[in-house]
């Protein structure tokens, strides 16, 4: 069946944009999360919205499921392909179409790399604010799907706060534009829908003016509790830093091995506190922050941009750097109210000690977004299951403390099973109403987000065949 589709699509797309060689297909079997793998039935690399729409329509006509993928750096398996479906890869749609500095916006194709937007406007004193750790390679389209965050989202907000409009191909193959005009906020629903409501083909992003000054403090503490108290004190003082990041000893060890970031030795935890804004305000608050980090045994202020970049390099490469100290690991992503941080961290520590499974902690401390890295040796019998156990237990901790099973990596395929721990069946059914309204055939990235995909027909009140025009 897919062979016929491949031939049809070769007539629409450039012939070399349709991949059906089994060896090549396998290189697309997973994204940044490698525990879930599925060889796609077919891979297409469209270069324009019309091509994406043609692919989607061809899939819908044949009842073939399809999944969109950007740079393949997701950490929840949101772009996990279907063996019986088509993987629509946007990595060749990477043109920056328009930069409008007067209105502080840029129009980009979905395959454009996050950091490339900032690079393009840097000489003019602007940047694109959301900065996931993978910003050097993750795509804007993927950021839209996952509503990606990043260290500076504490002050500047997530992707949703920086997307002004999206041109999408709907699950039925129509090209429409969602924007922030009056009426239902369909753009709000689309950003963060993890690719289940259509495929982004063009994004209008907000450009943020670079702050007048930036000050970065690296503070080293002997214990993670002390670092946690400093975080509470800073936020409690009414300061909104651009970022507050924490790393524990194990995470520091990994980062040091990977990029020689020169963090103070023997630290139980380091905090990276960054302030930005007008000079007098930053100077005043930076002095306050330094005073509030009184327990730190060493405080280091970034001398210049190069020094600041090195401090951040340690933090931003931490996930992959853990590969240096452990053969395998799970990157977890959960949220707790900031005030519960010390208790949750103590519980994670207890979980780790009781199970003998090592956990490295890296997190956006300012908004309570944890990224525990659960280490294991995949060559050891049962180690992966034990690590999975600890990883799941950490999410339970987040939920019992009133938090969430994901902060910014998304639910994808990896956390769909945890959704019922946070939501009732009625909650989940209500969410699926929206999905069914837009994707009645259930072909657009099926199997993601929800633990038990429902056939749209099973749900009462949903009328099928609604004309699309009324929705937008």
């Amino acid at each position: 069946m897919l062979q016929g589709l491949a031939e049809e699509l070769r007539r629409v797309l450039r012939p070399d944009s349709v991949i059906d060689d089994p060896v090549r297909l396998r290189t697309y079997e997973c994204d940044g999360l490698t525990v879930h793998r599925a060889r796609p039935g077919l891979v297409v690399l469209p270069e324009a919205a019309e091509e994406v729409a043609a692919v989607v329509r061809a899939c819908v006509a044949r009842g073939v499921p399809y999944v969109a993928r950007g740079s393949g750096t997701g950490l929840s398996g949101g772009a996990l392909p279907r063996t019986d479906g088509v993987l629509v890869v946007t990595s060749r749609m990477r043109r920056i179409l328009e930069i409008d500095l007067d209105d502080q916006r840029a129009v980009v194709e979905p395959g454009v790399i996050n950091l490339d937007v900032s690079k393009a406007v840097r000489p003019d004193g602007y940047h694109y604010a959301p900065d996931p750790s993978s910003q050097q390679i993750c795509s804007i389209g993927g950021n839209v799907a996952e509503n990606s965050g990043g260290a500076h989202c504490l002050k500047y907000g997530f992707t949703a706060n920086h997307v002004l409009a999206c041109e999408i191909v709907t699950p039925e193959g129509e090209i429409v534009t969602l924007d922030d005009g009056p009426g239902y906020d369909l753009l709000g629903a689309f950003v963060g829908a993890e690719g289940t409501l259509g495929i982004t083909t063009k994004v209008t992003v907000r450009l943020t003016r670079n702050p007048e000054v930036v000050q970065t403090l690296l503070a080293a503490f002997s214990s993670i509790e002390q670092a946690g108290e400093a975080v509470s004190a800073i936020i409690g003082a009414g300061i909104v830093p651009a970022a507050i990041e924490m790393m524990d000893a194990l995470a520091i060890e990994a980062a040091e091995a990977a990029v020689a970031c020169g963090y103070p030795e023997n630290a139980g935890a380091v905090l990276i506190v960054e302030l930005d804004g007008p000079e007098p305000e930053v100077a005043h608050q930076f002095a306050q922050v330094k005073a509030l980090c009184l327990d730190a045994f060493e405080q280091r202020v970034a001398r210049d941009d190069a020094d600041r970049a090195l401090i951040w390099k340690g933090r931003k490469s931490a996930f992959a750097a853990v590969g240096r100290i452990s053969p395998a690991y799970i990157v977890q992503d959960g949220v707790v109210p900031r005030t519960s941080l010390p208790r949750v961290l103590a519980s994670i520590d207890r979980l780790s000690r009781e199970s003998g499974v090592k956990v490295a902690n890296v997190f956006h401390a300012g908004d309570g977004n944890l990224h525990p890295l659960v280490l294991f040796d995949d060559a050891e019998e049962g180690a992966e299951e034990r690590a999975e156990g600890v990883s799941g237990a950490i999410l339970d901790l987040c939920i019992t403390h009133g938090g969430s099973i994901t902060g910014e990596h998304g639910v994808g395929v990896d956390k769909a099973r945890y959704m019922p721990r946070m939501f009732t069946d009625a909650d989940l059914d209500t969410m699926q109403l929206l999905r069914c309204a837009l994707d009645p055939a259930g072909l657009c990235n099926p199997g993601k987000v929800f633990p038990t995909p429902r056939l749209c027909g099973e749900i009462p009140r949903v009328r099928r065949g609604e004309p699309e025009g009324e929705l937008y």
């Binding site: 991949i19 060689d21 060896v23 090549r24 396998r26 290189t27 697309y28 079997e29 997973c30 994204d31 940044g32 490698t34 690399l45 740079s71 393949g72 750096t73 890869v89 990595s91 060749r92 990477r94 395959g111 790399i113 950091l115 993978s134 050097q136 390679i137 993750c138 091995a257 990977a258 990029v259 020689a260 490469s317 996930f319 992959a320 750097a321 590969g323 240096r324 100290i325 452990s326 053969p327």
Partner: protein, 446 residues
């Protein structure tokens, strides 16, 4: 000191499956993608380092080497930008060298492919054979036949056309004496590798290197017995051939304290000897010792520290990172420091310095289309600096970029850092760098 080169990852080769352990280091994060030249060009997973590692893993697990797989490995430039950008310490250099050797063993090549490879490897690593083609090449260049031949070649074989286009304009090749004495008080005694292509086609770079070393107080020894270091063979999967060249190089340089190398690819290969002979007890220690004594020209001068007086060289210059210097040896700051130490020299940075220019050893001969596209990209970025002089520590890079600029109708003078230093130390100013016929890239028709 040089910036730290990435050391072994968590799964350093141990146990009974060292290649599998090297493959396991990759955590699939994708940080290598944006600096991979072929990913930049084509945006395909299987033409990225992460995708190629995945292909290697498929083959390692038992999938036969398909022509498609071999094509993706052949398309890799071996620029090692991925090694620099990998946070997990994946040793892609070892992975691709091993894989290329497997491709050579298992993948049947077509007759024209075999002929081209045979010609390249029978010619370039042999200075004497290169010398033999110099005469006819000079005659050909002087005749102006290129205008007629180039379009025909372009249709017949893009590889041969690339070879014709990239051949440097030739002057008289002067031999270096076996010993050049230090000027002033002697600070060091060093051996100098003269290389193959460098020695026959870019002799002016070698003489500049020797002069700068002598002016900085070094006795320079140029051992007569030296030949090719084996870089070309090593980076093309011809391991046994590479080892034979390496053994001869080890023997030739066994008696000097330091070996100064002015070609990025050669220096990188010589620093790899230790790993190349790790399993051969008879050679392991000697190879490791040689690797430990090998220094790039700018690396050596940076360790030695400046002593000779720098005279002004008024020129706007762009510095291009040769991959085997930046990624292969972690040498980025030293050549820049050296050049910034020259009064009057306005040093400009080229955008995306991590991305290869497409020259990559024999790549522009074996994969001319991809090499041209990358050359074009780099030419635009170099052009944007508005520099009059392009400086790089590898003759292949400067030839590649100058040729791409020429296709766009722009001429740029090219030089090795040693030539810039030479002009500064001897107080010659910028004129010889900008006007010497040997330095000016030949405008070619396309």
């Amino acid at each position: 000191m040089s910036e730290a080169t990435p050391d072994a990852g968590a799964g350093a080769p141990t146990g009974d499956d060292p290649f599998g352990a090297l493959l396991d280091d990759c955590v699939h994060c994708g940080f290598c993608l944006p600096t991979c030249p072929t990913y930049v060009l084509w945006g395909e997973e299987m033409d990225s380092p992460r995708g190629r590692i995945h292909l290697m893993a498929q083959h390692h697990e038992g999938t036969p080497l398909t022509p498609e797989m071999a094509g993706h490995f052949d398309a890799c430039l071996g620029c090692l930008a991925c090694v620099s950008s990998c946070p997990s310490g994946v040793q892609y250099d070892k992975l691709i060298d091993h894989t290329r050797a497997e491709v050579e063993r298992e993948h049947p090549r077509t007759v024209p492919e075999r002929a081209l490879r045979a010609a390249i490897f029978a010619l370039f690593p042999y200075p004497r054979r290169l010398r033999a083609v110099r005469g006819p090449l000079r005659l050909y260049q002087a005749s102006g036949l290129g205008r007629v031949v180039q379009p025909v070649l372009a249709r017949l074989s893009p590889s041969l056309a690339a070879m014709e286009r990239l051949a440097p304009p030739l002057g008289r090749a002067r031999r270096l004496p076996e010993r050049i004495g230090a000027r002033g008080e002697r600070r060091a005694a060093v051996g100098m590798l003269t290389g193959c292509v460098q020695r026959e086609f870019f002799p002016q770079v070698n003489s500049a290197t020797a002069r700068v070393l002598a002016l900085e107080g070094c006795d320079v020894l140029v051992p007569k017995g030296q030949g090719c270091c084996g870089a070309l063979s090593l980076h093309s999967g011809r391991t046994e051939e590479a080892k034979a060249f390496a053994r001869a190089t080890i023997e030739a340089f066994e008696r000097v304290d330091a070996i100064v190398v002015n070609s990025a690819g050669c220096g990188s290969a010589m620093k790899e000897y230790a790993a190349l002979f790790a399993d051969e007890p008879a050679w392991a220690a000697r190879a490791a010792a040689l690797s430990g004594r090998t220094r790039d020209f700018s690396e050596f001068l940076s360790e030695l520290g400046p002593r000779a007086r720098r005279h002004p060289v008024e020129v706007t210059a762009a510095y291009h990172d040769a991959c085997h210097l930046a990624h292969g040896q972690g040498i980025r700051s030293q050549p820049r420091e050296l050049l910034r130490g020259v009064p009057g020299l306005d040093l400009r940075e080229v955008a995306d310095p991590d991305v290869c220019c497409g020259s990559a050893g024999t790549y522009n001969l074996l994969q001319p289309e991809a090499a041209d596209a990358l050359g074009e990209r780099k030419a635009i970025q170099v052009g944007a600096t508005e520099a009059e002089l392009l400086i790089a520590a590898n003759p292949g890079c400067t030839a590649q970029i100058a040729s791409a600029l020429a296709r766009r109708g722009t001429e740029i003078a090219v030089a090795h850092p040693a030539q810039v230093l030479d002009a500064s130390l001897r107080g010659l100013g910028a004129t010889p760098l900008l006007s010497h016929p040997d330095q000016i890239a030949r405008t070619t028709m396309r």
